[in-house]
Subunit: 208 residues, 2 copies
DNA sequence: CTTGGAAAAGGAAAATAGTCCTGCTATGCA
DNA sequence: TGCATAGCAGGACTATTTTCCTTTTCCAAG
């Protein structure tokens, strides 16, 4: 289902998100500034609805650097949610996939959409192996938000200076050290020096 | 980003999903059967791309009874994922929200989209209270798939004949009884008679 | 092989969206 | 206050899409 008001709301929200007015968005997209004018959303005599063309939508999306799925979410009205890239957990440890701040770099990953994830730099990891069982099993996918400030009891993904990437539950945190409680009882808890932690990201979703 | 090939792929997949050809879909939508013809996707001289109008897309979606977000998912190419309704866990126990087979009834819930959920009748629940801690905390959201066959070790939501709705881990299953392992150690495990279980749905995603 | 139906190609007319233009209003700046 | 700029309304014109028409291709049933 797609209604006339939905599609125009999508356009308005797209403009708002980009920090522009509807006419500003149109200009940015290389269209006539009046294309998205409220006065062009119904016919002159007021009897017929006017719809934007898909080509105009496509140009506006290119200008706003937003995906079609995200636009659909804006139009449908439901708030929140973002497309996040998905990579394998094993790869997460290797060089080249993350910058120093814990954000994934590069592209070409499968994109999946998640509700309630507003972190611009959120991404998904796929679990390999059973070292984190029973909480996370082989093949499970977790979505992590690097910008969220994790609190005690939250589950987090941590990358250390030595290049290790691991999922743990956050324990006691002091100025000098961070306690990481193992999710698998067979593995010991660890206490890392704050300086040894390259980045730490909170896990916000997990497949079961 | 929305490309010419994407939007037409979306139309083709929409038709396929509905069990129709592109021209059949157009007819069903009350449009001219040639509207979605491959020959109308580029100009006659082959130099210009032709795009379907938003209004035609809207009519096709109405005919196929599909939401705009789902269409965007089809167009973007990423497979899987569905819109699922969200309700509070407390309401889940009360009458009127679920039919006898465990499917949510009624509408008006907030819709959220999930990847990897192909179950037509999947829905999301919001956890209230800490009776399922530490695995599920107050405010967490879980996505359940009623059609998925749960196996031992899976986390499930169960509704009993007495109207109770609870989230547990599936234990030993026999012909007569089902063992449910409590997620919170403070609560006892339970063994239910198979006849007392109205429905059981597997938990596929959980916010952390 | 023939035949009926659906799908699609191709082209001209009709409908609709974008563009270009003018004018009005609100806002920010000197 | 005066001025420049952005946003929007309204109207005429242009470009594109849909519709309507005929013809061709494809496929399955007889």
């Amino acid at each position: 289902m797609l209604t006339h008001s939905q599609i125009w709301r999508g356009v308005d929200r797209l403009a708002e998100r980009t920090g522009l007015s509807p006419s500003g968005l149109a200009r940015q997209a290389g269209l006539d500034p009046t294309t998205f004018n409220p006065s062009k959303r119904i016919s002159a005599d007021g009897t017929k609805l006017r719809w934007p063309s898909t080509e105009s939508i496509a140009k506006a999306l290119a200008a706003a650097r937003l995906g079609f799925e995200d636009f659909a979410a804006l139009a449908a009205g439901a708030a929140g949610g973002r497309s996040v890239p998905l990579i394998g957990f094993a790869q997460a440890g290797s060089h080249g996939y993350f910058d120093d701040a814990g954000f994934p770099v590069g592209a070409g990953w499968e994109e999946v959409r998640f509700p309630g994830v507003d972190d611009e730099d959120a991404y998904a990891l796929e679990i390999a192996g059973d070292s984190m069982a029973p909480v996370y099993r082989d093949g499970d996918r977790i979505v992590v938000a690097p910008h969220a400030a994790p609190r005690r009891g939250d589950r987090v993904v941590v990358k250390t200076r030595s290049g290790e990437v691991m999922a743990k539950e956050l324990g006691r945190v002091t100025n000098q050290s961070v306690e990481l409680v193992s999710l698998n009882p067979a593995y010991d808890n660890r206490v890392l020096d704050t300086a040894d932690i390259v980045w730490m990201a909170r896990i916000v979703w997990a497949s079961q």
